[in-house]
């Protein structure tokens, strides 16, 4: 091993002592991370080159067979399409609502803590519980559901929210449940970002004759929130990519999962752990998805210039 310095010298006893202490502190965590993240990843890459049905120690090498199979699988491409549609809805919706709430709540003189708590409270709820409420009470598609009751007050027809694909009303259910669950979290991020904007910026803008409201928002607040916005969008996209809980709980029933609205993780779940237990194909899918998200993260970070300081 080459030392980082150019001259090779023996470690002093003090340095050796420190190295020992370093590993006392970092070692347990590092070993666990290797065992439960790096080993599974490597194993999965290995499995992805084998015909591994119902086994984790396969013998039949198939080369890139699983990769061509997964990329050629219409269901896998549909899953990527589902993710794209979901992202197109949920990212702008959450961004706009959480920013609007932060702006409104942040400017309150009174009851600020109350409103923040109310909007933040859904964060305590699990996706499972929220999906349960949405599926069995709010959007249950029968006449005693709340959404259909409200429609009934206006004389509108009942809607079978989750079981109709034309029009695809299930998107409304999927998007609202996540919106409810995560908006408060991002509102808190924006509130923190707003607090970091130095008041002198607003004073200077007022001196220059900028009117409070849209002008100030466009020229002061929004640019100053750049770093927060980048982080929020990044988190929103990554989280949308990993969507599983609400899709699974809202859409699957005793007959299984419907053929539509399968995001990537639902596809992986049924491929690798369903009837067939095709771990080779599932692993290939996982590797492809991991590559996609890694590349997307790097590109997004480049694109937005992550790491640049807040413009203050």
């Amino acid at each position: 091993m080459a030392a980082s310095g150019s001259t090779r010298r023996r470690a002093t006893p003090r340095e050796r002592n420190q190295t020992l202490w370093f590993w006392v502190f970092v070692g347990p965590f590092a070993v666990g991370l290797v065992l439960f993240t790096y080993v599974p990843l490597a194993w999965s890459v290995w499995l992805s080159f084998f015909d591994a049905r119902n086994t984790v120690s396969p013998t039949h090498f198939v080369g890139f067979g699983n990769y061509t199979a997964v990329l050629g699988d219409a269901a896998f491409r549909d899953a990527l399409g589902t993710f794209a549609v979901f992202t197109a809805f949920i990212v702008p919706a959450t961004y706009a609502l959480s920013l609007a709430l932060a702006l409104a709540v942040g400017r309150l003189r009174r009851a600020r803590a109350f409103f923040r708590s109310v909007f933040f409270l859904p964060t305590a709820c699990s996706y499972v519980v929220a999906a349960l409420i949405w599926k069995l009470s709010l959007f249950n598609g029968v006449r005693f559901g709340l959404a259909n009751t409200v429609l009934g007050w206006f004389g509108a027809d009942q809607v079978a929210w989750l079981s109709t694909t034309d029009p695809p009303w299930y998107w409304l259910v999927l998007v609202t449940v996540r919106l409810w669950l995560q908006t408060g979290f991002y509102m808190v991020l924006f509130l923190a970002g707003l607090q970091r904007i130095p008041p002198r910026l607003y004073e200077a803008a007022a001196m220059d004759g900028a009117r409070p409201g849209w002008q100030t928002f466009r020229h002061i607040t929004f640019p100053a929130l750049r770093a927060t916005s980048v982080a929020v969008v990044l988190l929103l996209v990554i989280n949308a990519f990993q969507a599983f809980d609400e899709f699974y709980n809202l859409l699957s029933d005793a007959r299984g999962y419907p053929p539509y609205a399968r995001p990537p993780l639902v596809y992986l779940y049924y491929t690798a752990l369903g009837q067939e237990q095709n771990l080779g194909l599932g692993s290939a899918g996982a590797v492809v998805l991991a590559l996609i998200i890694a590349v997307a993260t790097v590109l997004q970070a480049r694109w937005f210039g992550l790491g640049r300081r807040e413009e203050a």
Binding site: S57, F115, V128, V129, L136, L189, G282, A290, I293
Partner: protein, 282 residues
């Protein structure tokens, strides 16, 4: 525009904003209301054609019915979830804080390489690795065991990163004084650093606890037997596969969020601090 009129406009704007916020707040509380309404109603009240805003009688007996129903293993699932959430929180805090401290404070030639090896795993989201992790855990024979549900989730690169950043900004004077007193790194850590950095432990701990209590995919994959069900898996099974009385299911869901609502009400300031601290790289 004269000044009075401008003031009036601002006041109208403020009132409008308050009304909008109130309307949204009510909307945000509707799901909680549905949870309680259905959880404390009779089956007939829930499925009645006309909407009743409040059940005709509050049936607290739904709770007893839930825990007496042998087909719904709610008590056992609650116990599993509690064990998993507490163990995961304590384990993550211990492992991640030690590692974060070592990375921040103990000089070591390859510390940076180790740090980037840890940070790199953040690029691969845990949800994408559930297939490989399942492969590993099943070959260890840990499927449907608490071990399998807890141990693989203990090594949070995210928590480690937060601790490292926090310790980097922690003033060195206290540790220097401890060293002068002859304390080694280990005792310095436990006697000086930990007692003085409790807020970051509280913030990370609360966030890990919420995540562990609400986790679904991993418990679904690993907790296959009924005995290994967490609350989320139990609720999910009755939402998707098996049918159960609506009032029982809703009261079960209400019970399942009680611990977290308590945590939220008591520790909100740490949660908010934690979200602010962990949500953005600072």
């Amino acid at each position: 525009m004269n000044r009075d009129m401008g003031d009036a406009l601002i006041r109208v704007g403020r009132a409008l904003r308050l009304v909008l916020l109130l309307a949204l707040a009510v909307l945000f509380l509707v799901p909680f209301y549905l949870l309680l309404r259905n959880g404390l109603a009779s089956e007939a009240d829930i499925t009645a054609p006309g909407w009743t805003f409040f059940p005709r009688e509050l049936r607290w007996s739904n709770l007893r019915e839930l825990f007496d129903d042998p087909s719904v293993p709610m008590a056992h699932a609650l116990l599993n979830s509690a064990l998993i959430a507490v163990a995961t929180t304590l384990g993550t805090l211990l492992l991640a804080s030690l590692a974060g401290y070592g990375l921040a404070r103990i000089p070591y030639r390859r510390a940076n390489a180790v740090f980037y090896a840890i940070l790199g795993t953040l690029m691969v989201p845990a949800a994408v690795t559930f297939v490989p992790s399942f492969v590993l855990v099943s070959s260890l024979g840990w499927v449907s065991s608490l071990r399998g549900l807890i141990v693989p989730t203990l090594f949070s690169a995210f928590a480690c990163f937060v601790f490292r950043q926090y310790f980097l900004g922690f003033p060195r004077e206290l540790e220097d004084a401890a060293q002068v007193d002859g304390l080694g790194p280990w005792r310095t850590y436990w006697r000086v650093v930990v007692p003085n950095t409790r807020p970051v432990f509280a913030s990370v701990g609360v966030i890990v606890f919420i995540g562990a209590w609400n986790a679904f995919l991993w418990p679904l994959v690993i907790g296959q037997d009924r005995d290994a069900w967490t609350v989320q898996v139990a609720l999910s099974t009755f939402t998707t596969a098996q049918s159960v009385n609506m009032h029982e299911l809703f009261v079960a869901a209400a019970v399942s969020i009680l611990p977290l609502l308590l945590v939220f009400l008591l520790l909100q300031r740490y949660i908010v601090a934690g979200v602010e601290r962990t949500g953005i790289d600072g």
